[in-house]
Assembly symmetry: C2
């Protein structure tokens, strides 16, 4: 069988003759974007053939010049012999920096630590002839005597270890326990001889459509020990939830997607644990937040009906699982809990994220003190979600924002990882970019916050028309045709001489259209929600912005491009990855676990797809900053 | 590799040269008794070499004549080439008749049916755009609306089937639910399209040291559909609990024993289900009763500390499991519940058995009506257990009775299966036996009830001395040396001309010693319990006798041989396999499940091993009927 080698990682895989390069990449564990699902239209899965040749099918996504230069679409290339291809660096995986700004902005942080899983070191009375207590009964008594839960329960796997653990010669054992909901008995997760209660760790996990993040947390102090993140391994099978759902039609493909995301989570877990000397098998529990489709795919549930009207998921509140059932490579009996979702398009990532806001009315909140000013929460990921309300009422909607701010669908786009341009200033006269690169060094691509900067700077300098097309008269020789078609112009942000790859970092008009669609989706969802509630933007006491833009999000520039409502900057809070932070709150605090359920109950879901006004709002927002300039006085007042 | 063929079943297996015939039998699925654990002393695993030869090690259990006739001990025979052996019919497996006399003697039968698992056929509202309810939420509402449990819970495996089941085109689904303890949510075991609630079945299972029984029960009517029983596959690894525990020292051997008993249960399940057209995968639940060692071995728990002072089991109340976790081949999500045990030597078989007696004070019993007369419950199996008390107090003890009444350790012994002599009358003059054979036809062996008859008849006719030795002057030519030693005489019960195998059915003095040890263990346990309680046998209002003797137990003869206390016959109730019947009660009735837990809590365990008087009582009881004849006025008055 012919073999395919993927550079720069050098991984090699054997393929059947005639197999697609995209399948070969998946088999080799190389993540290639394929947002169009392998239709040959998005051009995202392009690779450069370095040695050997592939058989290319016609597609409109590559110019003749690109094909001549060795570029090929992985989805439309068939392997006919040994071949070596280079994956563009902007698509490559690497350690992503997950922002956790305003880590304690939410109110949950004030409530006491009461982790989902905890350890108790207890002395166990020796067995006695006078009593017919079994090992389990003695353990229950010991836990009770130590002030632990009155009732405990123990599954078969743990029960099998009990006799040996209680007879190690040490008079004490350490019990890892899962904290019960309500009056249920606490679950004994494992029992070990001696005192091992000094360190207890858990994971907070965010499964994003594009990016996954795993955070190792010290359960005794609440301290974050480390975070690892990477692209969700499923991106090779579609870039947004709809293409994933389409891909997942057959049970074998559902199983493939489940295995892909678990592969990502387990690699990240290993990475986060290793960096802190914690064996993964020592981790006692995890809380997972993610959108409803991601959770369905991770659980191996059929996501089909999320896509079809009336958009019904199988489950909004997945049951508490053991790590072994879920497939997470921590202690097999560790508990895995999920943030509760609201519906098919407002998932646990949103309810968890809300924990970081004043919209989360904790159980210990003084009812009289509940503010009734409306607040807005935006989570801008591949799916965008907007929640509007106060502590009395909450409504939510979702929009398909696309992966543009996470690097998807943009030729120079990348995640907020090392080498990403996170800030851009353009010299007003020359248009030369002054950039700030994550981790220093030469840039490899541009992440979400850099895109927003770039868009705002280009527009403010009138190098960009409100329609998103370049004004060649203002751009000089920094603009040239992006590909085969002279109708798609590209602006050179960083010339090849100063980039990591040696090639120009450019942004094309087609990229800008993707960015405009994303910002329009987000803004129009906000606008429609406000209209439905009979409010205007100025009524908002606070706007929370969450998403994987990078460490910094320039709020002023986000307003300038028309993504966020035009409000004084002090009304904004940037939360970074609030889904991950919320999962951590749930891992650490009983109050957060109760509050998140209450939030899920309170949220009313608004289905935008069936509201005709949404399309009008969206179309009006596809300009810089908006067709209705009265909504953006700040932008109107610009030079 | 050489192959070994076992007749009469004709099963064949390949073995490493030099491997033991006993291991080959286990590999071939042929159950051979090996009560001594393969030490070559009991002679139980004897087989006849029909073709080829084996290499025999010296052992004292076979006479030179027997070896010359082709007999070999499987445990002491090494396979050196292809060989065919015949397993004696008395050791063979066959359908055992499990008595279920006095099926409704217990009071549980009066309480309403409230099975552990049940089915509901419910209409489920279609998904709607206005609601963001998931499939699980809709199912929960439907169950609630149909008058089912208010809260339900659903594991991952069942969740994965939900989307398809709710969209089959049928507006109704059938939900199999596990009935919760207390306020816990009901467990959804499975969901199927359409109305499948018409038939629901469960299993009652008794795991005995020697014999296992599986009963298929209709959960809607409470009717027993069928029962299958067979030797516990573990008997090849030791005949009593102590030899099994000794065998189970290494984890691989524990796993072997677990697989052996599950193999037996699954074969019996298949057999019971097939006979009634019920696919095993349609069975929704099972309740299992067994002694503490059997339950530990079936669960894969280390039984070691049951054997060692202070005799501490890992668990007295095993958790509720799913069939898939336990390894039972019914529906993988079916519930498997266990009767609660009291301690290492009073297990769930006893608490379940007590459900069949007036000692079980059901929760709905009028407290004022609780009788305070003492009652005695005896379960005579390989382990014998005795419970004494009334509805106010209960004490229990255990004794090692041995497998004699189930056919173990007796050369003509067999289970109460087809071909077993279950009744014996000896002609007073000639000593010729008039026998009744289970299923009619020629006898193959003698089961427990036949043994008791035989012993009593031989003794009453003074053919047997009180010591258990034959009186040759009274036996004539029916007595001859049993084997190589002239010191062990054997009495011909049925001459070869009238037996199935064509060989004489004989009972030897060594067999009688085994029977005496069994009856002495049981009687002395009863006597000691009464003494401890300050009672005499005549204070007993009722004596319940349980065990696998066969369909009939001649109570008068059981008294004559000194096994049961000498009381008027109307004070006795023979319950048959009360462990199985109690498991069925637990399967069918919530009241029984609650009562059995209460019973387990109330019983005080008495450890006979540490009471010196027990040995005295035991030794005094090793005679027919007893050294103290004043305790057996009926026997004293005999001719």
């Amino acid at each position: 069988m012919p073999s395919v080698t993927f550079l720069p990682r050098g991984v090699r895989t054997a393929v059947e003759p005639g197999g697609s390069l995209l399948d070969a990449a998946a088999a080799a564990g190389v993540s290639l974007f394929a947002p169009c699902g392998g239709e040959g239209v998005c051009g995202e899965c392009r690779v450069r053939v370095v040695e050997g040749a592939v058989e290319q099918e016609a597609s409109g996504a590559l110019s003749a010049a690109e094909i001549a230069a060795g570029w090929a679409l992985a989805c439309h290339s068939r392997v006919v012999g040994d071949v070596t291809v280079r994956v563009p660096e902007t698509s490559e995986t690497g350690a992503q920096i997950v922002t956790d700004a305003a880590a304690d902005a939410g109110r949950g942080a004030e409530s006491p630590l009461e982790p989902l899983v905890f350890r108790l070191c207890v002395p166990v009375e020796p067995p006695a002839l006078e009593s017919s207590l079994g090992d389990f009964d003695r353990l229950r008594r010991a836990v009770r005597a130590a002030g632990g839960p009155r009732e405990i329960a123990c599954g078969l796997a743990t029960l099998r270890t009990l006799a040996a653990a209680l007879r190690s010669g040490d008079s004490k054992v350490t019990v890892a326990l899962g904290r019960p909901d309500g009056d249920a008995p606490a679950e004994v997760l494992r029992v070990e001889p001696g005192d091992r209660a000094g360190r207890a760790t858990g994971l907070a996990i965010d499964i994003g459509t594009t990016t996954c993040a795993v955070q190792l947390v010290d359960l005794k102090s609440g301290r974050v020990l480390g975070t690892a993140s990477d692209y969700n391994g499923q991106i090779a099978r579609g870039l947004d939830v709809i293409s994933r759902i389409n891909y997942a039609k057959a049970p074998a493909r559902r199983e493939e997607l489940r295995a892909l995301v678990l592969g990502t989570l387990n690699a990240l877990t290993e990475q986060a644990c290793r960096a802190h000397g914690v064996p993964p098998a020592e981790v006692d529990g995890a809380v997972i937040a993610g959108n409803t489709t991601m959770i369905h795919l991770a659980l191996g549930l059929d996501p089909e009906f999320i896509r079809l009207e009336p958009y019904t998921p199988t489950v909004n509140r997945p049951p508490l699982l053991r790590a072994r059932e879920f497939g997470l490579a921590i202690h097999p009996e560790a508990l895995v809990a999920f943030a509760p979702g609201v519906g098919s398009y407002v998932g646990g990532d949103i309810t968890a994220g809300l924990l970081r806001t004043a919209l989360a009315a904790g159980e210990d909140a003084d009812p009289a003190s509940r503010p009734d000013e409306p607040r807005l929460f935006l989570d801008i990921g591949t799916n965008g979600e907007v929640v509007l309300g106060n502590r009395e009422w909450l409504m939510a909607c979702a929009c398909s924002a696309g992966p543009a701010f996470e690097g998807g669908g943009i030729r120079c786009g990348m995640r907020a990882a090392a080498g990403a341009i996170e800030r851009v200033r353009l010299d007003p006269a020359t248009g030369v970019a002054d950039v700030r690169v994550v981790g220093g060094g030469k840039p490899r691509g541009i992440c979400g916050s850099g895109m927003i900067d770039l868009l705002a700077e280009l527009w403010a300098a009138k190098r960009l028309e409100p329609s998103g097309r370049f004004n060649p008269g203002r751009c000089g020789d920094r603009v040239r045709p992006a590909g085969a078609s002279a109708r798609d112009l590209a602006y050179t942000v960083v010339p090849g001489a100063r980039t990591e790859s040696g090639e120009d970092l450019v942004i094309a008009e087609s990229d800008i259209q993707n960015l405009l669609r994303t910002k329009a989706a987000v803004y129009s969802a906000c606008a429609l929600m406000l209209k439905r509630a009979g409010l205007s933007a100025s009524d908002l006491a606070q706007v929370y912005v969450a998403g994987g833009f990078g460490r910094f999000l320039d709020l002023k520039k986000s307003i300038l491009i028309g993504m966020l409502p035009d409000l004084p900057l002090d009304r904004f809070t940037y939360l970074g990855n609030s889904s991950l932070a919320g999962a951590r709150e749930m891992l650490l605090r009983g109050a957060a676990r109760r509050t998140v359920r209450e939030l899920a109950d309170r949220i009313t879901y608004l289905e935008l797809n069936v509201i005709p006004e949404y399309m009008e709002e969206y179309t009006a927002a596809l300009f810089l900053p908006h067709t209705d300039l009265s909504r953006f006085p700040t932008a109107r007042g610009m030079p």
